[in-house]
Symmetry: C2
Subunit: 284 residues, 2 copies
């Protein structure tokens, strides 16, 4: 079961999730020779990232928007990159944040758990409720997993996620986390981990303490480390006790090494450093 | 400006939005001869739908999940179908329901407002807040538009959208509609219509009355007519006074005519009938 295996790797290798959010202006000269051809250069760059970080990373997260932006060529690259990561025995999270009614969710589940775009885990948006998520349950029983958006790390997360609900002090995001956990019981696969984890971004210690009772039973995908401003102390507070999460680094892994000829060594150095920092988070 | 033009067509032709949510098992024998080849058959079927309904429809809505389900071949069909609809001078809504942080939303906006997947209007999910939506504003100024999920028509819409927020009787979906309208003022294009409308599903009259104060200023995309159970009286109550919405019919347009040799005539007959019913909604 993928979530169980992911937890194992997070503890043994490190909680580092390497985000592969490629953008045209990031392609290093060493790969591009100054030109840019979407499919070939994205695939070459992604392979370089995977080859030089897999010693340290629990998993990879591929942001599909970066590929949709380039139309069909981008999505051909996306398909090849997912395939390459899985061919290396690595776990890949497709960051698709899909959310739609049941009959449509069935199509998304088919699209992202089988065929050209097959991933091991997907991210989902539950705004539309349980029938936006339950069509993925049959795939969970076959070993796939999902992270549902709970509390995100962007500034706008306050707009709706922080609203108090049900005439109580509970926020919408806390309510979502509670609900995800309840839904997870229904798609129990006999593992100690639910197949549905949650995306929980961290920006300040007050939020984390408010969130902890709701995150304690869920495996977490934590975005925001590096470019989005989450600090290592915040991450430690969030996942330390439970060894129960992976932490995504996307822009921090590649930013500023566009022109760098020695980018492979730099990728390796950063992955090792992030992994070391994050491993300390769960080992103390 | 597309939203303005859409309103014009909704009044002059009809508020009918024809949903093109193709599935393999729906392809009529007249097109497939019993075989199924994703790209060619989807494109042929979609062209048949457009050619036989455009006399009556204000616009088309293409559900991208149905194409993502078939991987790259599905998305080649998707690109060709969008292109065909626009080449006919018709307005196309890409039902993508994307929602992500600012830097990622920029990539989705690029992907769905330019290039292979260019649409006129997209649907968006605002769970992640304003920075999930504001990257689309520059495209609104160039004439594009969006419908943001407010209250959806599926059973699970009650799970989160009906939660009371802010220690008041206001629901989350009402709060979202209020907020969309406020955001819309910031991307004002000088038209009398905001570039951001809302998706508002209707299932019962009590919900509609509760929603009306929040929908009155927004142009609406109303799903749920036909297969999802919304009744014509409900739709009349929701959009009558303002002539301010389009109503989507997807499954109702094609269901049960898989085996029908005379499917072109049947599409035409249904489109005419739906258009007539819906036009009466706004003309009384």
């Amino acid at each position: 079961m993928t979530m169980k295996e992911l937890k194992k790797r997070a503890i043994e290798k490190s909680p580092l999730c390497v985000g592969i959010d490629l953008r045209e202006n990031q392609i290093p000269l060493a790969i591009s020779n100054g030109t840019f051809e979407v499919e070939e250069h994205f695939v070459a760059y992604a392979k370089a990232i995977v080859d030089n970080t897999k010693e340290y990373a629990a998993c990879y997260k591929v942001q599909i928007a970066c590929y949709e932006a380039y139309g069909l060529a981008g999505l051909r690259a996306y398909a090849r990159i997912l395939n390459y990561i899985r061919s290396q025995g690595e776990i890949v999270i497709a960051d698709i944040k899909r959310g739609d009614i049941g009959s449509t969710a069935e199509m998304y589940a088919q699209g992202h758990f089988t065929g050209d775009f097959e991933a091991d885990i997907v991210t989902l948006n539950a705004y539309m409720g349980k029938d936006a998520v339950s069509p993925y349950f049959p795939y969970f029983k076959q070993g796939k997993g999902a992270f549902i958006l709970g509390k995100t790390s962007n500034p706008g997360s306050k707009d709706f996620q922080d609203l108090k609900v049900n005439q109580t002090e509970q926020t919408l995001s806390q309510n979502v986390l509670d609900t995800i956990y309840q839904w997870g019981k229904e798609c129990d696969t006999g593992s100690e981990l639910p197949c549905m984890g949650a995306v929980v971004g961290v920006n300040n210690i007050a939020d984390i303490h408010a969130m902890k009772p709701y995150t304690d039973k869920l495996f977490l995908l934590v975005p925001g480390y590096g470019a989005q401003g989450a600090k290592i102390e915040d991450i430690r507070t969030l996942i330390a006790d439970r060894q129960n999460g992976v932490v995504n680094v996307s822009r921090g892994m590649t930013a500023g090494i566009v022109e760098e000829k020695e980018f492979e060594q730099e990728l390796r150095r950063r992955a090792q450093q992030f992994a070391k920092e994050l491993l300390q988070c769960i080992n103390k």
